[in-house]
Amino acid sequence: MSEFRMPSLGADMEAGTVVEWRVHPGDRVKRGDIVALVETEKGLIEIEIFQDGEIESLVMPEGEKVAVGTVLAMISGEAAPPPAAKVEPAPKVAPKAPPVPHRTESTGRARVSPLARKRAQELGVDLARVVGSGEGGAIAAADVERAAGQAPPTAPAPAVGPPPGTATDRQAAMRKAIAAAMARSKREIPHYYLGTHVDMSKAMAWLTAENLRRPVTERLLYSALAIKAVALAVHEVPETNGFWVDGAFQPGAGVHVGVAISLRQGGLVAPAIHDVDEMPLNDLMRSMLALVQRARSGVLRSSEVSDATITVTNLGERGVETVFGIIYPPQVALVGFGTLVEQPWAADGMIGTRPVIAASLSGDHRASDGHRGARFLAAIDRLLQEPEKL
């Protein structure tokens, strides 16, 4: 018997709401199955399970907002190691020793601060549905105020049902989550920045020829080439791929490239495409399109949200030349691409114009040095000169 807990889907996640269970007690599950739909600051996420077994019981009712680490369900069968992702939970709510009790009936009287009780009365909040963030799961006034901002849990939520909270709430929550992650990054990570210009003439020529042969629906974008080049370059400088955890670098278990996707309503997510280094361009392109679509419709999978080992951000379509990115902790590198522009370019003693893209690397100096970072960027450049091999 083991516990299935609210996973941390990134350094900035503090809590999530089980909107819908996709399994019932008695169901057999295997690693990778989607067991629940969870609402987070990043939108709705399909949560995968990381072990085989049988669902014993669903501990957490739908509609409960609980801290990362809270037990959601009990699984019988062999306990499996936790998900491969090394993402630490957001430090702010990292549960210490005892798991946060989500309900109080078992322990008798609820642990509620006097101020929280007063606020609950003023706001008409039912304390039974408030999740405590204080020591030992005690409910504080801020928890009551948060709960007051949420709709009470309705009867079983419809399939992809309206998530709790208004769109404005979710945007505010996402902004807060981004703020926390980026502030943590700038506070903890000693960034170094490198930039180079990559001649894209060979890549674009190959792409144009390749796309002519393809039906419109299967055409490739140059960003697929860029992402593939990043994934392959990682093999040459592995210390750019992974996590900085507890004072040491942990290499990523694969090359899972997080792709920064801006959302129409504001904010962004950077879900991962798994094993990009081994993925043919066709599959990569399809994965990218599907990912963008699902990110924008707001349903991502937990492994996508938490597994990225390195992030790529492409602000090309926004018309900027260079990106100086902020690393998404606990990752250790972020590659930025700017707009593809025609530029004067000197080569072989001649000046001509070439399509050029500015590539940048934001590196975590604890995990790698500028010398290695330079080699990494140079590898990306070199790989993009042989597009047919990508």
């Binding site: 709510v93 006097p114 101020l115 020591e135 005690a138 006034a141 801020a142």
Partner: protein, 332 residues
């Protein structure tokens, strides 16, 4: 008209300046205690005063706390304004009978006929490897006694300014000078003088948690507040200044605003000033509390001599930071 430039000074010099001013302003004032004259005071506070004011007003006493505190009470009854120095609060226990049974009680027992305008200064606290018989913080015991006032100057301003209003007070006032503060240096207004001795002071305004302290732990508490600030926790620091009567209003005002309190007290927690403050918060601000009251106090052992043990026994910045974090974010 210009304000005179602030002068560089130390806590020790500020106390000496206060004594000198009192001796100059009021001829009824005199200083007495062990080694205050020829030796210049065990902590060099009264250095030079014997030469300046003479043996009638700077009086060395025998090593008998009970006798010279009793003499001070008698002098005060007779119209003088004595400043009695006791070397450490541990030694003041020899004079406990005089302080509690006489100084604090005579006004009441005489039906209001005789007040005791006596000031007793003494050193308190640890941190200098002086071991268990010279290092305790027993001011909380005195704060238990009706009939006396208990002051704890933690800043240069208060070291300079609390003595005169204490002498003006018609009743006994005890001033506790934390031994680690004498060398504290800083700037003090050239015209610094008497300060209010009835109110606590907000040394650092904040919104998220109230850190309540006094005396020797004010500096550590302010350092903890800065560290918390770097984490986004905005701590308010209250310097009690007066332990009896406690300024309940300032304490409650702060806690009602921040909803959380950590009390930092070098005394032991059992039956202490920190316990009294906790009780007042719970009595007066229960419905405004968003977390239990936390305390950072000395370990309940006689103060060890060994440096590492003494450090471990005393409230330190990391413990204050951890206590405040636990209240604000549920974990350390």
């Amino acid at each position: 008209m210009t304000t005179p430039a602030p002068v560089k000074t130390t806590y020790r010099e500020a106390v000496r300046a206060a004594i000198r001013e009192a001796l100059q302003r009021d001829e009824r004032v005199f200083l007495m205690g062990e080694d205050v004259g020829r030796y210049g005071g065990c902590f060099a506070v009264s250095k030079g005063l014997l030469a300046e004011f003479g043996a009638a007003r700077i009086r060395d006493t025998p090593l008998s706390e009970s006798a010279f505190v009793g003499a001070g009470i008698g002098a005060a009854l007779g119209g003088a304004r004595p400043i009695v120095e006791i070397m450490t609060v541990n030694f003041s226990l020899l004079a406990l009978d005089q302080i509690v049974n006489n100084a604090a009680a005579i006004l009441y027992m005489s039906g209001g006929q005789f007040s005791i305008p006596l000031v007793i200064r003494m050193t308190t606290g640890a941190g200098r490897q002086l071991a268990a018989q010279h290092s305790h913080s027993l001011e909380g015991w005195y704060a238990h006694i009706p009939g006396i006032k208990v002051l704890a100057p933690a800043t240069l301003e208060d070291a300079r300014g609390m003595l005169w209003p204490a002498l003006e007070d018609p009743d006994p006032v005890l001033i506790f000078e934390h031994g680690s503060l004498y060398n504290m240096a800083g700037e003090l207004a050239a015209d610094a003088g008497a300060v209010d001795i009835s109110r606590a002071a907000v040394r650092r305004p904040g919104t998220d948690v109230s850190l309540i302290t006094y005396g020797g732990t004010l500096g550590k508490t302010l350092a903890a507040a800065e560290e918390l600030g770097a984490d986004g926790i905005n701590a308010e620091v209250i310097d009690l200044r007066t332990l009896r009567p406690l300024d309940t209003e300032t304490i409650i005002g702060s806690v009602s605003k921040t909803h959380r309190a950590v009390i930092v007290d070098e005394g032991w927690r059992s039956g202490s000033v920190s316990a009294e403050i906790t009780a007042r918060i719970v009595e007066n601000a229960f419905y405004d509390l968003d977390a239990p009251v936390a305390r950072v106090c000395s370990a309940e052992v006689p103060m060890p001599y060994a440096k590492h043990l003494e450090d471990a026994a005393l409230p330190q910045v990391p413990a204050i930071v951890a206590g405040a974090r636990r209240l604000v974010s549920g974990h350390e």
